[in-house]
Amino acid sequence: MDIFSIDELRKTFTNGDMKEEILKGINLTLKEGEITALVGPSGSGKSTLLTIAAGLQPASDGKVLFNDINITSMTSEQVRDIRAKQFGFVFQFAHLVPFLTVWEQLSLMLDVSEVKINNEKREQEIDYILDRVGLSNRKHAYPSSLSGGEKQRVAIARAVIHKPKVLFADEPTASLDTKKSKEIMSLIQDLTKTLNITTLMVTHDEEMLSYVDHVVRMSDGRVV
């Protein structure tokens, strides 16, 4: 059994009477605990594939199997429950909650994923992750006072604090310079390995591919 696989996935967008097939039968398997990167030209369907795989939008046809359960045929509440407990998300921008401190962002994620832990354990877990992303000294800071790189590190901490099975990352380094990008990539690599998280990420930047285990190239809605 594979932890995560995609089977003959298709996606068609309708604009007026225009129908456009963006994903034309994608097959893909993620290896447990490893990072798979999607690369390809702009408009080739990478983000569409990632968001369907993550249960953020429906597929037109085909299957997305997580632990052998097809999430494309689930109700939106069932998918939400999986997103909250089993998936983690990092996007191009950090998308932090503006009125919560770093510490509170992570605590919120623990609540959302309904992890049952006492306060002492909660403190420990959050402190541990903050230490790992190098933000122990900023735990009471609000997002507005963090730099872009720091925000992205908080976003990564939030994406893994509840120990998800799968991490989805769409161009997590696109808004950062090369040096910061490398730091973020090695952080993702480091965290997903120690926490045994399976990762699917999209990137434009060939330089980042040295941090991943597998590269899947896409072009015009197909894996090439």
């Binding site: 998300f89 503006p98 009125f99």
Partner: protein
């Protein structure tokens, strides 16, 4: 961890503005309904302070108590059949005091009853407001149509009719002044259903109050203002939360993406709405009580705890509806929208 509370803490100014508007609007509402109630006491305390029951007047009177004459045999029968029933008459008129100054009063006479003062011929019992105007027990008052004079026996509280102080006189004196044998009105206390009495029209306490000229006009306009204010405050809630929600569409999207339930987003909004409303209402209830104390003596202001409670509940319900309607957009937010929109 309550993120609703954290947002308020981080955005104190924004929430204080909403809070202070709700405070002002609700305070104004409390004061105006205090005035409405005070005016209605000032207008018709005599009737308002009767227990709930039924009033009867002649059908031919066309809802004008002045024109009503209740047939003596019907009166005797009802007074006999029904415990605590009372027949009474009211006429507006004038009394001349010792310095021959004219005072407008409402003359009232009645059959034996615990709710109406009983006086001997030549005696008179007056509403307390006349004592405040300088009358004393023992004063002699005169009336053009009354041969002898009235001696003031005592003063009683809260007896007003059609904004005039009530003057209780004996039936004989009343007959001498107004030259009528029949009583105008019958009152039977008790919640039980109306009896059908031939030739008589029945009124609930409220319906009877509305037959008093000026009473319904006064109350209607004040109550209309109160309801306007309540509707306005509902709209304020709606607009405020709508604007806040529009600003937070991106945030809601991202929260939904990471798995926050839509119902939790609604709970967050409701918590904030309740917190702001309860705080503002507490302040305005306190201020309206204070106003009760400092309001000028002759200002008819009377705000009961019951009215305060009722209005507070209405405010909470209206705030809830306003916030919820404007929050329906939260339901429509797609997680993807936010992610594609870029930085929050």
């Amino acid at each position: 961890m309550s993120i609703a509370w954290k947002e308020i803490k981080k955005n104190k100014v924004r929430f204080s503005i909403l809070g202070s508007i709700i405070f002002l609007v609700s305070l104004l509402t409390f004061i105006i309904s205090g005035l409405a109630n005070g005016l209605s006491q000032d207008n018709a305390a005599l009737i308002k302070n009767l227990p709930s029951g039924h009033f009867y007047m002649n059908e031919d009177a066309e809802e004008n108590y002045n024109l009503s004459r209740i047939d003596g045999s019907i009166r005797e029968q009802i007074l006999h059949d029904q415990k605590d029933a009372v027949a009474f008459s009211i006429q507006m008129g004038f009394l001349n005091d010792e310095s021959d100054k004219q005072r407008s009063v409402a003359f009232v006479t009645s059959t034996n009853s615990k709710w109406f003062e009983q006086v001997a011929p030549g005696e008179i019992i007056l509403d307390r407001s006349l004592e405040k105007e300088g009358m004393k027990v023992g004063d002699t008052l005169t009336h053009k149509q009354y041969k002898s004079s009235f001696v003031v026996k005592k003063f009683v509280d809260q007896k007003k009719f059609s904004h005039a102080p009530v003057a209780y006189i004996n039936k004989e004196s009343y007959n001498e002044i107004y030259r009528v044998e029949e009583m105008q009105l019958l009152f039977t206390p008790g919640e039980d259903s109306t009896q059908n009495i031939k030739g008589l029209q029945s009124f609930s306490n409220k319906d009877f109050l509305n037959t008093i000229p000026s009473y319904s006009a006064e109350q209607m306009s004040l109550n209309m203002i109160v309801w306007f204010l309540i509707v306005i405050s509902g709209m304020l809630f709606g607009i405020f939360f709508y604007m806040m929600n529009v600003q937070k569409i991106g945030l809601y999207g991202i929260l939904k993406a990471i798995g926050v339930k839509t119902s939790d987003l609604f709970k967050m909004m409701w918590t904030q709405m309740l917190f702001i409303t309860i705080l503002s209402l507490t302040l305005s209830v306190g201020s309206s009580q204070l106003f009760n104390k400092v309001a000028p003596e002759d200002m008819p202001y009377h705000l009961t705890n019951e009215t305060t409670l009722q209005l507070s509940i209405v405010f909470l319900v209206i705030g809830f509806i306003g916030a919820t309607l404007s929050g329906l957009q939260i339901k429509k937010v797609e997680p993807l929208q936010a992610i594609q929109q870029g930085e929050v």
